[in-house]
Symmetry: C2
DNA sequence: AATGGTCTTGTAACCGATTACAAAAAACTT
DNA sequence: AAGTTTTTTGTAATCGGTTACAAGACCATT
C-alpha cells in the first residue's frame, strides 16, 4: 500500500487500475500485446499517481543498466563551461532514471561495452563517429544541426542576428565579429551577424578566434593594435567575449563607453565586474529535448530535428554608439 | 551457478565458502555478529572470485541509493580542467559501485536530501560547510591539507620546490612566481618556490594571479611591460602557465630561449604547440584515496590525512639560462 | 545433568520491477 | 452451437541482495 510518503510502486498502479502487475509492466514498456482500452486506462492511472518505475528494480531485472554515451568532439580536458553545464543538465534528467552517463573519447571504436545510445556533439559532414554508430546499431542523437538524423541545436543564426540587431539599434555602424573559424557553430553565428549588418549597411570586421577566453583576448588586442576599429563587437561565445573585454580594457578603452560587446551562450556567474549582454541558450531544454529524441531513436521512430529558441539578455556591456542616433 | 561469463553472485560466494547468503551479506556489510574464523574464510573467497555486490540489488533492498556529494568552493560553471579531471576520476570508481555523484553548490544548507558523504574541496579555516556537515552527521573528506579531518592533498610545497629546482639546475638565477593569491594552494606552492630559490640566493619576483589562463596572461604581460625581468618562471597552474607563455610570445620573446616556464598540475593535451614542463599530480590516485577515506569516515574510524606525491614532467619549455653555467 | 544465557548461523520474506507460461476471453469458422 | 484460433490477461518465478526472526552451538552455572 502506498501512503503519501513513499513513491507508488507498480503494485499500486495495478491495484488502482484493476489489472495485474504484468499488464502494467507491459504498458510501461510498450509491449504490443495490451488491449487499447486497458492501455489507456493504465496510463491515466500512471499519470494521476505520478508513477515512475524504480530504476534499481528495472536494472535488477534487466541484469544490466542503461547507459548514455556523450561524445565530445575533442579529447582534451579543457571542457568548456558550456559543455559542463550541458552535462549537468543531462545528468539531472538521467540520474532519476538510473541511466549512467558515459564520457566517450572522440574515437569510439573499441569501447568495452556499447552504450544504449549516444549523444554526439558537433558532428561534421561524414563524421566517422556517425558511421560507426550506425554500423553498430547504436541509436545516436546529434547536438548541432544535421540532416537525416535525430538532432537538437540552439538557433545559432537567429541568435547571432538578434545580438547584432541589439548593437545596430544602439546606433553602432562599425561592427566586428569575433569567432571566425571552421566549426559549424562559428559559421552559423557569423552568417546571422552578417545578415543583420547588411540590412543597414554597417561596416564589418571579421576576427578569427575559437571559443576560448585567450583566443578572444589575443584576436581583439592584435586587431586593435593593427589599427582595426569598431564600436560594436559580437563575440561567438561568452568566453571569448570575456577575453575581448579584458583586451579592450588593457588597451585603455572603456566598456561600454568606447566599445559595446555582446556575447553568446548566457553562462551564469561570469568572472566579470558587470553583467554581459548576451544571447542565452536554453541549455536545460536542449538537454531534455535531446533525451526525448534518444527515446524516439531507441524506439525506432523517424529521424527529426528541432531548433531550440534563444533569448537576448540585456546586460551592461551595450551603450549607444558615440555620437550615434539610436 | 556462475560461469566465466557472468559475474559471481552472493550465492556463489555462499556456496564456495560453505555458509548461507545471510552470513556472506553480514561479512560484506561488516556486521559484528560474524565469527572471526568464518569472516576471514568468506573474505578470502570474495577476494579469490573477485566478487562485487550488484549495486542495483543493494539499492533495491536499501530502498535508496548511495550518493557522494562533491562540494566545490565556487558556484560558477567555469570548472577548471583540473576539477573536470578529478570528477572523472572519481566517477570511474563510483559508477561501478552504483554511487551517484552529486554536484553541490558552495552553500550546503537546505539540500533536498543529504548525501551519504561529501568531498569538500579547498576548505578554509572555519569553513561553514564543515560545521554544517558535522552538525548533520554527514561524513566529510577534504581535498586539501587540513588538520583534524579526513583529507587528501597533493604535495603542493614539495612539487613547487621540485619545479623551482628544475629552473635553478638549468642555471636560472632570476626567477618569478606566478600565482600569488589568497588560497591555501597558492600559499603552499609559493612557499616551495621561495624555499628553493633561497638556497642559492636567486632573485625572485612575485606576480599575483589566480589559476586561470587570462589571469596568467595579464599578470605576466603587465609585469614585463612595467620592466620586471626574469629568465625562469614558475606558474602555480598549467592554465596560468599557458597564459604566461602566450603573453611572453606576444611580447616577442622566445620560449624557452628567453624565458623558461614550468607549470603545475600535469594536465594532458594542452592547447600548446610544444610540451609544457610541469609538475604532474596523480589525480586518479588522489581520487581513489579520497574514496578510501570516505569509506573510513563512514565506518567511523579515526581521521587521518595523506599527501600524494607529485612528479616532475620534463617538457620543452625549460632551457639553460642565457650565459648561465648549468 | 539440567538450565539459562551468549554467539553465531540459517531460513525465509521482502525490495520493485520483468517475462515465460498458462489460462481466460474474444473473435472467427464451419 | 461447438470447435479453433487469436488476442489479452493473470500467475508465479526470477533478478541479487538485506534483514527480522528462529534455531543451533557453545559455554558457564547450579
Amino acid at each position: 500500500m502506498s501512503d503519501a510518503l513513499t513513491r507508488p510502486t507498480i503494485d499500486d498502479i495495478a491495484r488502482a487500475s484493476g489489472v495485474s502487475k504484468g499488464t502494467v509492466s507491459r504498458v510501461i514498456n510498450g509491449h504490443s500485446t495490451v488491449a487499447e482500452r486497458t492501455r489507456v486506462r493504465v496510463q491515466e492511472v500512471i499519470a494521476r499517481l505520478d508513477y515512475t518505475p524504480d530504476p534499481a528494480a528495472r536494472n535488477l531485472s534487466w541484469r544490466t543498466g542503461q547507459t548514455l554515451g556523450l561524445s565530445l568532439d575533442r579529447d582534451d580536458p579543457m571542457l568548456s563551461p558550456y559543455q559542463v553545464l550541458f552535462r549537468r543538465a543531462l545528468e539531472a534528467h538521467t540520474a532519476p532514471l538510473g541511466v549512467q552517463l558515459l564520457d566517450l573519447r572522440a574515437d569510439l571504436t573499441r569501447l568495452a561495452r556499447l552504450p544504449s545510445a549516444v549523444l554526439v556533439m558537433h558532428a561534421v559532414e561524414g563524421d566517422p563517429r556517425l558511421s560507426f554508430l550506425q554500423q553498430q546499431g547504436v541509436p545516436a542523437v546529434l547536438i548541432g544541426h544535421h540532416p537525416e538524423s535525430f538532432w537538437v541545436a540552439p538557433d545559432d543564426e537567429g541568435g547571432a542576428h538578434l545580438a547584432t540587431l541589439q548593437l545596430l539599434e544602439a546606433g553602432h555602424r562599425h561592427l566586428a565579429y569575433l569567432g571566425v573559424g571552421p566549426s559549424q557553430v562559428a559559421h552559423d553565428r557569423q552568417r546571422g551577424f552578417e545578415r543583420a549588418a547588411r540590412t543597414v549597411g554597417a561596416s564589418t570586421q571579421l576576427l578569427a578566434a575559437d571559443f576560448t577566453v585567450l583566443s578572444g583576448y589575443r584576436a581583439v588586442r592584435r586587431a586593435w593594435e593593427a589599427g582595426v576599429r569598431f564600436t560594436g563587437l559580437f563575440a561567438q561565445s561568452d568566453e571569448s567575449a570575456i577575453g575581448a573585454v579584458a583586451a579592450l580594457e588593457d588597451l585603455g578603452l572603456n566598456i561600454p563607453g568606447d566599445v559595446s560587446v555582446v556575447g553568446f551562450d548566457g553562462l551564469p556567474e561570469l568572472p566579470l565586474p558587470y553583467s554581459l549582454t548576451t544571447v542565452s541558450q536554453d541549455i536545460p531544454r536542449i538537454a531534455s529535448t535531446a533525451l526525448t529524441l534518444v527515446g524516439e531513436a531507441i524506439s525506432g521512430q523517424r529521424p527529426r530535428g528541432e531548433f531550440i529558441p534563444v533569448q537576448l539578455i540585456s546586460g551592461a556591456t551595450v551603450a549607444s554608439a558615440p555620437g550615434g542616433s539610436p
